[in-house]
Symmetry: D2
Subunit: 331 residues, 4 copies
């Protein structure tokens, strides 16, 4: 397969927010030929009104055999439990899988089953799809576990600093998320009249994305997510202390080296990023400031949770795996 012959792709789990975004972006991708859009529980008559004249075919019931015979690559926007079952089945039959659920993200089996009870027992052949830090693995992977939205932002900001040993222990991540991150199922918390004009914290000391962030960074973090009244976007404010002798230039150097070749990471320095600049894009914007005397570092990171935090990053991984330019279909 070369970059000029389109890859036949399918999207399984197309009715959630990430799945819809996947389908919308893939229909715009010049090297993806979308063959199937499926949903668990779909009947023949299910249509996607927002995608009329873009995707007019019906959403079809989930069917592994058809995915295997009609596609080369499948994107999964399914619940964890279903993804845990279908992902390996597809990969075993030769289809490349890009999974947006949490089922395959945690490598430690204990942690994985604690946070995702129905996740698989083994995870061989699986790449963790934080593109900027795993490009080499991606080409060889059969199944890509695309990162959670909060970890995407946190790990992109922190890993270059942690791996260069620039930070003292005691990292704090104060995350603010738009409400699409909570998914499409109505609930009291996501009812308009409850979440509009409101801010709430949740999952304090108990959010499964903390485990994922700690796995990738290799150090403990305090992670507190908040829901804020907007739809798309994550803003994480990160607090840490620089080790003695480390200064702002060292921070800038580590980030600059890490992302010199990354088209979707934008370093904004002391000008802090804002959600409006990343919404509906695959960019991750990172800014930082150091309070020189005390060595207090404050970073701010922004992504669109449905693009760089979900569908966009999955397509970025697809681009890397199939040898396309990393930005194809994503600018």
């Amino acid at each position: 397969m070369n970059k000029y012959s389109p890859v036949r792709v399918g999207v399984a789990g197309v009715t959630g927010y990430a799945g819809l975004e996947l389908l919308r972006l893939l229909m715009r991708h010049p090297h993806a030929d979308v063959r199937l859009a499926m949903a668990s529980g779909a009947s023949e008559s299910k249509r996607l009104p927002g995608l009329a004249k873009i995707w007019d075919a019906p959403v079809e019931p989930l069917d592994i055999d058809r995915l295997v015979s009609e596609t080369d690559a499948v994107f999964l926007g399914l619940p964890d439990t279903l993804a845990a079952e279908i992902g390996p089945a597809l990969a075993d039959r030769g289809v490349r899988v890009f999974d947006l659920s949490g089922a395959f993200r945690l490598r430690d089996a204990g942690a994985r089953h604690r946070w995702y009870p129905h996740s698989p027992s083994a995870t061989a052949g699986i790449a963790y799809g934080l593109t900027e830090q795993r490009r080499l693995e991606l080409a060889a992977a059969r199944l890509v576990a695309c990162p959670g939205c909060y970890p995407t932002a946190a790990v992109l900001a922190l890993l270059p600093l942690v791996s260069s040993s620039l930070l003292e222990p005691g990292i704090i991540i104060d995350a603010k998320s738009g409400i699409s991150g909570a998914g499409k199922t109505p609930s009291e918390r996501t009812h308009f009249s409850e979440s509009h004009d409101n801010i709430s914290a949740y999952g304090v000391f108990g959010h499964r994305h903390a485990a994922e962030i700690e796995q990738e960074l290799g150090v403990p973090v305090t992670f507190v997510p908040h829901l804020v009244p907007l739809n798309r976007g994550i803003f994480e404010t990160i607090y840490a202390r620089l080790r003695p002798g480390v200064d702002a230039a060292a921070v800038e150097g580590a980030l600059g080296r890490a992302y010199a070749e990354s088209p979707f990471v934008r370093l904004t320095g002391a000008e802090f990023p804002e959600i409006k600049h990343v919404a509906h894009t695959n960019f991750c914007d990172i800014g930082w400031r150091v309070d020189a005397p005390g060595g207090q570092l404050v970073m701010a990171v922004c992504i669109d949770n449905l693009v760089k935090g979900a569908a966009g990053q999955a397509i970025q991984n697809f681009n890397v795996m199939f040898g396309f330019e990393e930005t194809v279909g994503l600018l």
Copy 2:
């Protein structure tokens, strides 16, 4: 009973948005002594976190006997079906009832059962509680059917003009409502990610509030409600043609005479009202303009759907019935 001895009141159905607003406003009312807050399906342990230090007692299960023995007046914030059953039972046993549901609003039995299938068969002793136009009836009523939110705005604006025969047939009411009007039960339509950044129309040619408006005006209307992404407030834009010989001065005169003694109706003339000026208040603001050559009238009316359109108007009715100043507890 005189105005200096507090009236013992109960609120039944306190967990919905109108019920919460009732309880909050009644706790501020100098002549109301709130004795009971009840909810259908409540258990002993139900608390209202937003009302801590205002109402710290538990929400109790619905209990007609207690309402009869411990209160003089009961406000009902219950679903139509339950209100249809409980309202008359309370009224028959001597408690004054202020009902916020739709069960008692339509006087024609056919229309009432079409739109509210479980509504009562008879409606004797019931006043329609659009305060400004029913003050005399309210003093004698046993049960007050508080108007719907859309009809409150539409009828206050239009009745003075219709009853003075100023308008041609063919009235159009384009209504925009905040989402609290849809109640507290989560649904796809009221899910934050679906309703934020969105506008939708619903119930075109089939909203039960149209029947209520037509009942009060005595003429047919075209009524189209829309959901807009804010929480509280209704804005209705009304289009009608003036009869030959009727001019803007006649419109102003009719409205001026109708509301000269009404402390909660504010006529803004050619300066159109805005929701921000009525939110969290019991005011109804009405503005209008006439395109002189064509006789086209455009009116705009604003209320807070949970106050003047629900809880506030119920208390305004309570004030009138018990002989208090109409504004007590509501400014």
Copy 3:
């Protein structure tokens, strides 16, 4: 020039919301080679932080000579007065011009100068760029006056019905617009704390877009625009009466015939459109219902004011003029 060699384009007036959207969309267009981004009053150092890694060149000062020598087509996102001056100057020197201002929209000189005092005295060679209804003119035009956002929605919905004589006189257009339609200059009305949680009407009987709608339809309309608290999107609810003998099938037939070959118009029938389905797209969604006994027609039309109502439609016109597929770069 053929469709395989890119067209050299410039954007003049890139710092407003429509200009930014133009630049963003053109950078994604496979047949547009963006050479220049200019702004009136720009200095050399002006950057667009939201477009970093998409458009990293500085925004340059407005320079007609450079636009003439370095581009084949120019998009103008300038104020009316400036566009009125620059547009003809560019067109006279052989550059194709796509103007987003109001300076060239009104063909009647009196109306044009009433609403746009500094507009040009003559408008020869100018096409009104409502793509779906002017494709033939566009190929030959030197300057395209792209329609206003409100007229785009209103005329697309109404023209097929008016030109088939299906409607009685007395059309009412109740328009609800997101606040980006008011532009980028801060004002009291568009201050967050004033417009959030608010709805307001403005320009009643005096909005210049009414003149544009009436020009295109050839009949008078009552047009009332409202600001609602969202950023992008227009929702217009249209009220009219069908002529005797005209029924819903005739409405459907007229709309169906008008847009059978139009990839960006989606007819949703009795399922009314919603802004969420058109936001960030170039689609115009149109729904309608008829109250059969009375012949009352209610239509709803949705567009994204910055895409189909501005930048997207301008590019759609560019595609038609240069012989590209109408949808290129816009799906």
Copy 4:
């Protein structure tokens, strides 16, 4: 003066958000007799449309002599510079002053002039009006410097813990504020289209409220404020480490003792507060959790910035100073 004879009050600076809220609340206060509403730059004709039928008198030009002769107490909602001049002038002539600006908050002259260049040189007779912690001082004060909105929340949450020496150094305050906190003057940052659907940080390491927090706590803090797209309300997430041997019970004990007699502080324990429960109220809700093994404390505090963070707290101070019940007019 006893509690049964109303206090004659004036509001100077009534056109900003805090001033409007002051006037609205004072008109509801049973022991306040509002005599004057003034604004700098007001002409005789200035009216407050949102307060029609509540306050129908015109807003008058600022006039110290009239304030002195016609009132006993004045609330100042003026810019810092103007408050710095007028506050002492009023206090010297025997009027009790409640100032909402920052001019008098910082006791250290160097800090005060750094952050508020036109603030007064001396601050004798001034009480810092964080009601819950200054009740005794308030009775005797001539001028009350009402705290900033961010410090109100931060100091109420932290002072009981800091003064009991429960916390290690290194307190982090991640503050999220609604946009009314930025005042009524339109700017690019507070333009609806810029702040809607956006989150931004500002004033990192350089916000003057940090100086105020540090003054009250007596320890350094890292303070990062963010603007989030809602109008009213502040949510502060506070991160600190407990000293060895300190546990969650000690935290609960310190907070419980501090606020046992405070009607407007609600301790929510491990159930974190939300803005929706404090909006439009004078409550300050405080929750906290401790990650036991590491001793990491996370607190969340919510207030309405215009009520407890401004107008409401000023009236609470007024109540204490004049011997009224602390809650009068505020529930």
